[in-house]
C-alpha cells in the first residue's frame, strides 16, 4: 500500500485534515447559510422565510450600534497594538542585558486565557479595591467606574484587548526586524544618518511586508473577538461595548433564534471575506508558487 508509485497515496495522506475541516467547518458553514433563510429555533417547527432575517437585522438599530462599536474596537485596538508592536520590535533590536528574560516577560500575556485576562483586569479596574483607582487617587485624579461607564468603558475594553494582543504583534515583527542586515545601518551611520532617518528609509520600507501581514491578521482576529469582552462587560453598560459577536451570541444563545443568528454570522463572514481572500491568496502564493516545489 505504501508504494510511491501509487498516485493515490499522497491524496490519502492529505485527506484527514481536509475531511476534518469539511465536516467541522465547511458543512456547518453551509448549514448556517441555509438556516439564515429560515425561522429555525430549537424545539420548534420551522419554515423558509426568504430574506426576512437579513431584512430584520439590517433594520435593527442594535445591529448598527454593534457594527459601530465593532469598527471603533477594531481600529482602536489594532492601531495601538501595531504601533506599540513596531516600537517594541525596534527597541528589542537594540539588544539589552538579559534579553531572553525581557522577551519572555513581554510575551507572557500570550499564555493567558480570555477568562484569566478578564479576571486580572476586572480586579485592577475595580472601582472600590482596584489598584488603578488607587493610583488615580495618588495622582490627585478622580476615581472612575472603568467597567460601567458609558463614555469610558469602550476605551478600557480596547486597552485590555491591546494588552492581550500586543505579544502576538511583537512575535511577528521582532523576528522580521532582527533579520534586517546590520551592514545597512552601519553604512547609514557612516553617512551621518540620524535614528529617525534610519527608521524612515531602512527599517520601515524593509519591514513593510511583515507589517502588512501582521496588520491583516490582527484585523481579522480582532473582528472575531468575543470571550474577553463578554466576560469583562457582557457588552454593557447598555450597548456601549456590544460588538457584533456579542449581539450574535445573545440572539443565538439567549433568545435561541438560530435563523437570525445564522444571518448575522453570514453578514460577518461577508464583511471579513474580502480581507481574508486577499491574505489566503498571498500565503498560498508564498508557500507554493514563488518557490515551486514541483
Amino acid at each position: 500500500m505504501f508504494t510511491l508509485r501509487h498516485r493515490a497515496v499522497p491524496w490519502l495522506l492529505v485527506s484527514p485534515p481536509l475531511i476534518l475541516l469539511t465536516i467541522i467547518v465547511l458543512i456547518p458553514e453551509i448549514v448556517a447559510l441555509v438556516l439564515s433563510f429560515t425561522n429555525f429555533a430549537l424545539g420548534r417547527s420551522w419554515r423558509f422565510v426568504g430574506f426576512e432575517n437579513y431584512g430584520r437585522i439590517l433594520t435593527d438599530p442594535a445591529f448598527w450600534s454593534a457594527f459601530r462599536v465593532n469598527v471603533v474596537f477594531v481600529i482602536g485596538a489594532v492601531a495601538l497594538e501595531m504601533a506599540a508592536g513596531l516600537f517594541l520590535a525596534c527597541l528589542l533590536a537594540r539588544r539589552f542585558a538579559l534579553q531572553g528574560l525581557w522577551v519572555t516577560l513581554l510575551l507572557a500575556p500570550m499564555a493567558m486565557s480570555p477568562a484569566v485576562t478578564a479576571v486580572i483586569w476586572s480586579y485592577l479596574l475595580s472601582f472600590n479595591i482596584g489598584p488603578i483607582n488607587y493610583l488615580m487617587g495618588l495622582a490627585g485624579l478622580e476615581r472612575q467606574e472603568w467597567l460601567s461607564s458609558l463614555s469610558l468603558t469602550l476605551w478600557v475594553v480596547i486597552f485590555v484587548e491591546f494588552w492581550a494582543a500586543l505579544p502576538y504583534v511583537v512575535l511577528m515583527l521582532y523576528p522580521a526586524r532582527t533579520i534586517l542586515p546590520q551592514s545597512l545601518y552601519e553604512a547609514a551611520s557612516i553617512d551621518g544618518a540620524s535614528g529617525w532617518t534610519k527608521f524612515r528609509y531602512i527599517t520601515w520600507p524593509l519591514m513593510m511586508p511583515a507589517f502588512t501581514v501582521a496588520l491583516i491578521f490582527r484585523i481579522m482576529i480582532t473582528i472575531r473577538a468575543f470571550g474577553l469582552v463578554w466576560i469583562l462587560t457582557g457588552g454593557g453598560p447598555h450597548r456601549a461595548t456590544e460588538i457584533i459577536s456579542i449581539y450574535l451570541y445573545k440572539i443565538g444563545f439567549r433568545y435561541w433564534q438560530f435563523g437570525a443568528a445564522a444571518a448575522i454570522a453570514w453578514l460577518v463572514l461577508l464583511l471579513t471575506a474580502a480581507i481574508a481572500a486577499h491574505q489566503v491568496w498571498r500565503m498560498y502564493r508564498r508557500m507554493f508558487v514563488e518557490h515551486r516545489p514541483w
Binding site: V9, P10, P17, E29, L88, G227, W230, Y249, M287
Partner: protein, 278 residues
C-alpha cells in the same frame, strides 16, 4: 552626560515600562492569590503581607467543579494535540515530498477555511452535535479544536519537512528501510522542534479557549476558562472572594506557562547539542 548615554537610559526606561505593563498585571494576580482576603480587600494596596495558602484551600474545598473542569481541560487538550499531530504529520509529509500543483491547491482550502470567524459555525454546530449525540462531550471540543488548529500545524510542519533533505530518507531506504520506517526513524526525529512548536500552539488554543467551550460544553465537558468566567461573575455573592478567583486563575495559567517555558528550554538545549555535534 553624552547624548548616547541619555538615549540608552531612555531605551531601558521604555523597555522596563512595557515589561511592567505586560507582565505586571499577571504578577499582581499571582502574588495576590497568596494574600488573605483582608489584604486584598483594601483600598490602599498591601505590599508587605503574610503569605497564605488559604485561597487554595478554599478552592480545593468549595470548588470541586473547578477541579473537574481542570481534568476536562487536560483530557480535551491532550486529545486535540494527538488529533492535530495524527492528521497534520502525514499531510505535511505528502505536501512536502509528493508536491504536485493539484495537491498544492488543496492547501488553499486549508487556509481559506481557517479564515472563517469561529462564531459562525457555533450556531449550526449546536443543533448538529445535539442531533448526533455529541453535545456536551469531550470529543465535540476535541474535533472543534482539532479542526481550527490542523491547517496551521500542517503548513508549519511542511516547512520543517522541506528543510530536511529528502536524500536522508532515500539513503535509509536504499539501506533497506521501508518508507514508513524512514518516516518514523529518520524524519520524525529531525523535525522534532516543529512537532513541539505545533503541539504548543494547539495546547495554548485548546487549554485557553472560551468561545467554543461556552457554547458546546454545558455540564459534563465544561472546561476551566468557562468555570473561571462563572466564578468571576459570582464575586460578592455566595462567599466567592477575589482570593479564590485569583487562586483559580493562577492554577489555570500555570500549566501553560510552565509547559511553554520548559519546552522552550529543551528546544534551546537541543539546538545547542546539535551544534556541538556539528
Amino acid at each position: 552626560m553624552p547624548i548616547s548615554r541619555i538615549q540608552r537610559l531612555l531605551e531601558w526606561a521604555a523597555l522596563l515600562f512595557f515589561v511592567a505593563v505586560l507582565a505586571g498585571p499577571i504578577a499582581v494576580t499571582v502574588v495576590s492569590s497568596f494574600k488573605f482576603e483582608r489584604d486584598i480587600f483594601t483600598y490602599v494596596p498591601v505590599v508587605a503581607f503574610a503569605p497564605t495558602l488559604a485561597n487554595y484551600a478554599d478552592l480545593l474545598r468549595d470548588w470541586p467543579k473547578f477541579w473537574s473542569a481542570m481534568a476536562n481541560s487536560a483530557v480535551i487538550t491532550l486529545g486535540s494535540v494527538v488529533l492535530v499531530l495524527a492528521a497534520a504529520l502525514p499531510a505535511a509529509y505528502a505536501y512536502s515530498r509528493f508536491a504536485t500543483r493539484r495537491l498544492g491547491l488543496t492547501t488553499l482550502f486549508l487556509l481559506a477555511v481557517r479564515m472563517f470567524p469561529p462564531l459562525i459555525i457555533t450556531v449550526p454546530l449546536f443543533p448538529i452535535f445535539t442531533g448526533v449525540g455529541l453535545d456536551d462531550t469531550h470529543l465535540a471540543l476535541v474535533l472543534l479544536y482539532g479542526a481550527f488548529q490542523v491547517s496551521m500545524a500542517t503548513l508549519m510542519l511542511k516547512t520543517f519537512i522541506d528543510a530536511v533533505p529528502a536524500e536522508l530518507e532515500e539513503a535509509a531506504m536504499i539501506d533497506g528501510c521501508s518508507r514508513p520506517q524512514a518516516f518514523f526513524r529518520i524524519l520524525l526525529p529531525a523535525i522534532r522542534p516543529g512537532i513541539v512548536a505545533s503541539a504548543i500552539f494547539v495546547t495554548i488554543f485548546a487549554w485557553n479557549d472560551y468561545l467554543f467551550a461556552l457554547v458546546i460544553a454545558v455540564e459534563r465537558s465544561v472546561t476551566t476558562p468557562v468555570v473561571l468566567g462563572e466564578m468571576l461573575g459570582m464575586i460578592g455573592e455566595n462567599n466567592v472572594g477575589w482570593g479564590t478567583v485569583f487562586a483559580a486563575a493562577t492554577v489555570q495559567m500555570l500549566p501553560v506557562m510552565g509547559f511553554v517555558w520548559t519546552v522552550q528550554r529543551q528546544m534551546l538545549r537541543g539546538a545547542a547539542a546539535e551544534g556541538v555535534k556539528g
